[in-house]
């Protein structure tokens, strides 16, 4: 019953934000502000995570490929596909659920508790549209870009680790990278990125927007938002893989 209650309110929140903006310029400004917050604000952690995940996947793949019959360039193929299909979109978005999700939930929660949302409502502003819509749109713009950056850096990190540890030569890695490449894998990663972007922005926005109480409740809402977003990302990951691969 509780689930349906939350789900119903979530759908109503999404529907409620689909109205004509009171002032396009102000909404645009807010969208740009959110793009900067979500995109630039998360770039550092995404780069670090992507580089290390790529590097570790090269080392671990090499460790498991013990047969001399398998060419070393296979390592690059495996790293490429793993990074593009799973690590870049899913791991990046799980990290972003923590970074961006908790920020969205706590920001909106604080605005709710300190009556800033009420103040906007009384001014005649649709707060769902003004506060939530720019966050979701900014996520749609910035998260796929971050996933692409994570993919490129992940593969580069893998190449770097492979070369530096002497597992395979740069030419071998580049050869493997180009062989049997399926452009659909990139499209699939982007489908995931868009789906996860919606989850990462809308679920924390829901928990933050409807928070009731004080500082303790804001903390709880933030934690619940991150946990729920992570579970939904993993669930959506499985559904997309089952449907599209």
């Amino acid at each position: 019953m509780n689930f349906f209650n939350h789900f119903g309110r979530y759908i109503l929140m999404i529907r409620g934000m689909l109205t004509k903006p009171e002032n396009w310029r102000m909404y645009w400004k807010e969208l740009m502000h959110q793009c900067s917050d979500i995109g630039i604000g998360s770039l550092g952690i995404v780069m670090v995570v992507a580089l290390f995940i790529g590097a570790v996947s090269t080392l671990q793949t090499a460790y498991q490929l013990v047969s001399n019959l398998i060419p070393k360039s296979t390592i690059a193929q495996i790293v490429r596909d793993t990074v593009i299909l799973e690590f870049a979109p899913t791991i990046t978005c799980i990290v972003l659920a923590g970074v961006v999700g908790s920020k969205i939930a706590s920001e909106l929660g604080n605005m709710r508790v300190s009556e800033q949302i009420d103040a906007l409502e009384i001014m005649g502003i649709n707060t769902k549209a003004y506060l939530i819509m720019p966050k979701i749109l900014a996520s749609f713009i910035m998260i796929p870009l971050l996933v692409i950056i994570a993919g490129v850096l992940g593969i580069w990190g893998g190449r770097l680790a492979g070369v530096m540890s002497g597992i395979l030569a740069p030419e071998e890695f580049d050869g493997g990278l180009l062989s049997g490449f399926l452009p659909f894998n990139v499209a699939f990663a982007l489908y995931k990125a868009y789906t996860f972007a919606f989850i990462i922005s809308s679920i924390p926005a829901y928990f933050g927007y409807f928070v009731q109480g004080g500082a303790l409740e804001i903390g709880k809402a933030s934690t619940t938002a991150v946990v729920t977003s992570c579970i939904m990302i993993l669930f959506a990951d499985y559904i997309l893989a089952a449907l599209l691969l």
Binding site: E22, R25, N110, S114, E115, Q116, D118, I122, M123, G124
Partner: protein
């Protein structure tokens, strides 16, 4: 003018507002007073549309707010200003940006025109040299003044103040009361103030509604409240021995008798 007709609001089984009717007059400070849990905050939230009443009507200059669609409400809300208990200033914006926000959202003024208007209202609330400060950098009294400035920057017809004196010292409270009263007269607004500050009641109570357990128990002004015979109101207003003595003294003065109570003149 705001007319409230037989307003009712419940949360589950708990009746919070039970058939309240009143008229909030233009150009006057209309005070809603009552103990905590008496329903005054819920009444104010119903008036501004943050809560939907179960039944009854709210009329803003004859326009039925309760039956309005979203678009009509949005339009009307641009004529409403509200000062919140905690001021509700936007943390990430400076004082100037906070006051400018409604102008940015609802007007097509140029930036220099907006700055001029912001400076005018900030000067009106006696707040100078704070334009570039953030809410975290100013005092509680200053925050209230910024809240008032933001509420009146669009020249609203209706001003709502929820506990404007909470958390302020008595002297600053008087300044804020005076300010609200002055802007009410100056802008000829219908001002509704939710308070349990007795200084406010006595100083600016042009029209007072006393709420008790969700019902309107008494209605009058700051002159009449002294002579009220309502036991519930007297218990609430003159709760302390000191205030009871003040009431007794005032009543004796009105009857032309010299006060001879504990605090009376010799």
């Amino acid at each position: 003018m705001i007319e409230i007709k037989d307003l009712k609001k419940s949360f589950g089984d708990k009746v919070v507002i039970n058939g309240v009717s009143a008229v909030m007059e233009t150009g006057k400070a209309n005070l809603i007073i009552g103990a905590s849990g008496s329903g005054k905050t819920v009444l104010m939230k119903c008036l501004v549309g943050l809560f939907e009443p179960d039944s009854g009507e709210i009329l803003y200059s004859g326009r039925n707010f309760t039956e309005m669609e979203n678009e009509g409400r949005k339009e009307l809300r641009q004529q409403i200003g509200m000062l919140f208990q905690g001021s509700a200033l936007f943390d990430s914006q400076t004082v100037e940006q906070n006051v400018m926000f409604p102008l940015n959202m609802f007007t097509r003024l140029t930036y220099p025109e907006k700055v001029k208007k912001v400076n005018e209202v900030l000067e009106r609330v006696n707040l100078k040299d704070a334009n570039k400060k953030y809410p975290a950098e100013i005092s509680g009294g200053m925050k209230k003044r910024v809240g008032i400035a933001r509420a009146i920057v669009l020249n609203p017809k209706y001003l709502f103040c929820d506990e404007p004196n909470s958390g302020l010292d008595p002297q600053t409270s008087l300044v804020i009361d005076k300010l609200i009263y002055e802007v009410t007269k100056e802008y000829n607004m219908t001002t509704v103030i939710n308070t349990h500050d007795m200084n406010s009641v006595m100083e600016i109570g042009d029209h007072i509604i006393y709420m008790h357990q969700g019902e309107k128990e008494w209605e009058g002004n700051n002159k009449q409240i002294i002579y009220s015979k309502s036991k519930k109101l007297n218990d609430f207003i003159f709760a302390s021995e000191f205030l009871q003595d003040v009431k007794e003294m005032r009543m004796l003065e009105a009857e032309g008798k010299a006060p001879n109570g504990k605090n009376g003149n010799k």
